[in-house]
Symmetry: none
Subunit: 419 residues, 2 copies
C-alpha cells in the first residue's frame, strides 16, 4: 500500500501575525508516526476566503486533509461554511450538538448567545466529532465527488490545542488508523538522554549508525535533554540497540517518551519513597513539575518556596548568620535548606536550589546563571553541587530543576538496583 | 503601494515528524509587522526534491520568498543547489565564506571536512549573508527573469533559530524594509481580557466594530484569557478605543501584550505590597508563575506547597479537626490556608488553593475539577470562592491559578484606584 498523503492546513491570522505559535504540526507528526503515517505537507493561511484557494489546491494531491481553526462563534470563523459551499453540501442543524452547547453554557453559568448556534451546524453527510473541552465540535467529511475533482477525507478541527488534541485522539487517529490499516509500519525508537550534549551523543553513537543507510537518524535537543531518534525495521533497531544503551549508560532517561518528571515520580513510587522541595531561584518550578504528574500526591509531601532570606530562616531553619556570612547563593545555605526541608517534612529525600535567575542580581563572583543545588537523604551525607546556566530566566528555571530532578532520579534508581 | 506578498517555506523532515517545533513563522510574523509587512502564507515540506515543486508554486504569487533549512553539509541539504538549478544560475565558490568556515573549524578543534565546502558555494548574482552562529551562510537572490516566470526576492536561511534570527535581524529585515519602504503601516492593538469568554466579548464590543469594514478584527482564546486584536489606522483605533475600554471594564488585563503574571507583579510593585502563596492542588504553579517575572523577589516573599493534609496543619496551622470535619477541599480549609500563609509570611496578601486536579481523587460531591480559592488581606475579611474546571490536570492548574491571580489583580488595582 502506498503511503497516504496527509496534509495539514492551519488557518488563523494570529498564527501569521506571530501572536500564537502553532502546536498542531508537531502534535500530528508525533501521533501519526506510530500508525505508519506522516504529514506530507503543511500550510498556514490567514482567516477568510483565501482558505478556499488553499483547500482546492490540496484536492488534487492529498488523500487526507486536516484543517484546524475557524470553527468558533465569531465572525472571522468561516471554515465550516467555506467547506460546505465548496462541496455543495447544505448545512443542517445538529440538534445533539446544540443541546450540548446549551448544556455547557448552563453548567458554567454563561448565557447562551444566539451566534453560538452556528457551531451546531454540520454539512450533510458529515460525522460530528464531539468536543469535550469547548463548544465547537469537529467534523469528518468523507470524500465527495465534484464536477472536476474529488475531495480528500476532510477533518475540520478546532484551533485551540486543548480542544483539538483530545478530539483527535478519540476520533481522528482511530479513523485514520482504520482507513490506512495496510500501511507498512516502521518502528521509531527514541532514546531520551539527559546530561549529554547533541554533538557528544552523535560522536558516541550516531555516526556509525547514520552511515548504515538502513536507518533514518534524527536528533532533537531541549534544555539539558536530547532525543536520539531512529526509524527503521524492528530487527535492525534491535541489532543496534545494545551499542546505544552501552554508550549512554545511566544518562538514558527513557525509551518511551516519558518526561523526567514522570520518571522521577514513578521511581519514587516504586521505591515507596517521598520527596520534599526547598526552592529559592527556581521559585516553585520543582514542586510544579512534580505535581504535573498524576499520583504525585503519593510521593510529594510538601514544598517550600523560600524566596526571601527571612523565609529561608523561618521556614527551613537556615541560620541567618550563615546567610549573612556565606551569602544566600552558597553551598552551605543550599545544604541547610535541603536538610531543613528533609527534617520538617519527614520525607525520604529533599531537593534544594538557590541561585541567580536574572536578569538582575548577578555579581562578578556569582554571575547571573549561577545555581547551587543539594540533595539530602535520611541517614546520608547531603550531596551539593554548583551549575552555571547562562540563559534567559525561564530556561534557567527549567535547566536548574532538570539538573536537580536528574540527580534525584539517579539516586532513587541506584537505591532500587542495590536492594 | 499594495501589500507585499511575503511567503515562508520551511523545509525539513524533523518538522513534519514532530521532533522539532517550528519557531520561524511566529518570529517572522512578529518582526515583519512593525515594517508594515506580513507573512501571507507559510508552508512546511520535507527535505528533498519536493522543495522544487513548492518553490515553483510560489513564483507566480509571491513578491518575497523566505526559505529556511537545507543549507547544511549533509546529503539531504539541497536547497542551495535546487534554487541555483531552477534559476539557471551557476554555483561559484565564495572564497571569504570558505575561509570563515575553515577558521571556525580550527577555533573549535573540529577537522575541516571536504563536504563542508558545499556551504561556501553561492549562485551567481547572490548576496552572501554571513552566519555568526554556525557554518552555513544565508543567501539573498534578487528577482531573476525566467522563460515563463519571474522569481520573487529569494532569501535562503539556515534552519536553526539561533543562526537564523541574528542573520535575519542584520540582513533580511533591513533589506525588506528598504524594498517596501512605501508600505503603509497600520497599528495593531491587542486588548487582553480575562474572565470573559470569546462570544460574550464579541457580543459586548466586537460586532459593531467588525461591521465597520475599516478595521481588521481577530480573537485568540487561551485558558481563561482572550486577546481581542484590532488592526487599522491609528486615528480609527483611537476612535473606537473608549467604547472597548468601557465594555470590558476591570476585565481588561493589558493592552501591551503583558501576561497576567507580569501585570500582577507590576501592580504589587506599584502598590509596594507583597504576596505569599499556599497551594495544594496547584502544586507550586502559583509561585512558579509569579517567579517567572523578573523582579518577582520584590513582591513575592514565600510560598507553601502543602500537598499532604499533615503539611497544611504543620506549615499553615490549619487545624487537623477542620480538615477531618470539612475535608481538605472546603471553604473553611482554603480560608485557614490563606490566613495561615498571611500570618506566617507577613505579606500584604495571601492566595490559597485546594482542589482536585485529577485524574483520580474525585467524588460525587466534589468531582475532579472542583477547586476552592481564597484571597486573604491584612485587616480585611478573607474572600473565598469555588470554581469548577472540568479539564485535564495541567489546564486545571493553569486555570485555577489564573482565577486566583486575577482576583489578586483586581484587589490590588482597586487599592491603587482608591488611594
Amino acid at each position: 500500500m502506498k503511503l497516504a498523503k496527509i496534509e495539514l492546513l492551519n488557518t488563523g491570522n494570529e498564527l501569521l501575525l506571530g501572536g500564537v505559535r502553532d502546536l498542531h504540526l508537531q502534535w500530528f507528526g508525533k501521533h501519526l508516526f506510530p500508525l505508519g503515517l506522516r504529514i506530507a505537507r503543511q500550510a498556514t493561511v490567514p482567516d477568510g476566503s483565501i482558505i478556499r484557494t488553499a483547500l482546492l489546491e490540496t484536492f488534487s494531491r492529498a488523500d487526507v486533509l486536516i484543517i484546524t481553526g475557524g470553527l468558533g462563534p465569531t465572525t472571522d470563523d468561516i471554515t465550516r461554511e467555506l467547506v460546505a459551499e465548496i462541496l455543495s453540501l447544505p448545512l443542517k442543524l445538529h440538534q445533539e450538538t446544540l443541546e450540548r452547547i446549551q448544556e455547557r453554557c448552563r453548567a458554567r453559568g454563561i448565557p447562551f448567545q444566539p451566534r453560538m448556534e452556528r457551531q451546531a451546524m454540520a454539512p450533510e453527510g458529515a460525522v460530528v466529532l464531539p468536543n469535550d473541552q469547548g463548544t465547537a465540535p469537529g467534523l469528518y467529511i468523507p470524500p465527495v465527488e465534484g464536477v472536476s475533482w474529488a475531495s480528500p477525507h476532510l477533518f475540520l478541527l478546532p484551533g485551540p490545542p486543548r480542544e483539538l488534541q483530545p478530539m483527535a485522539l478519540a476520533h481522528v487517529l482511530p479513523r485514520l488508523a482504520e482507513l490506512f490499516s495496510g500501511t507498512e509500519k516502521n518502528e521509531c525508537r527514541i532514546y531520551r538522554v539527559v546530561g549529554m550534549g547533541e554533538s557528544k551523543l552523535e560522536a558516541a553513537i550516531g555516526l556509525s549508525i547514520s552511515q548504515r543507510g538502513d536507518l533514518e537518524v534524527g536528533y532533537c535537543a531541549r534544555p539539558n535533554e536530547v532525543d536520539f531518534r531512529l526509524i527503521g525495521k524492528s530487527e535492525i533497531l534491535d541489532e543496534v540497540e545494545p551499542s546505544i544503551l552501552a554508550a549512554v549508560g545511566d544518562k538514558l532517561l527513557s525509551t518511551n517518551d516519558e518526561s523526567l518528571d514522570e520518571v522521577v515520580v514513578s521511581l519514587l513510587r516504586k521505591a515507596k519513597a517521598s520527596v520534599a522541595t526547598a526552592e529559592s531561584c527556581t521559585g516553585g518550578t520543582l514542586a510544579n513539575r512534580l505535581t504535573d504528574v498524576p499520583c504525585a500526591s503519593e510521593v510529594f509531601l510538601e514544598g517550600f518556596v523560600t524566596y526571601s532570606n527571612e523565609s529561608k530562616s523561618a521556614l527551613l531553619g537556615v541560620p541567618s548568620e550563615l546567610i549573612a556570612h556565606r551569602g544566600a547563593v552558597s553551598e552551605e545555605v543550599v545544604c541547610a535548606m535541603a536538610e531543613g526541608a528533609l527534617e520538617r517534612s519527614g520525607a525520604t529525600y529533599a531537593l534544594a536550589t538557590t541561585g541567580i535567575a536574572g536578569p538582575g542580581g548577578g555579581s562578578p563572583e556569582k554571575p547571573v546563571g549561577t545555581v547551587w543545588l543539594a540533595l539530602a537523604e535520611r541517614g546520608q551525607a547531603t550531596h551539593s553541587w554548583m551549575e552555571k546556566f547562562m540563559t534567559d530566566r525561564l530556561t534557567f528555571k527549567q535547566r536548574a530543576t532538570q539538573a536537580a530532578l536528574d540527580q534525584l532520579r539517579k539516586r532513587v534508581l541506584a537505591s532500587l538496583t542495590h536492594d
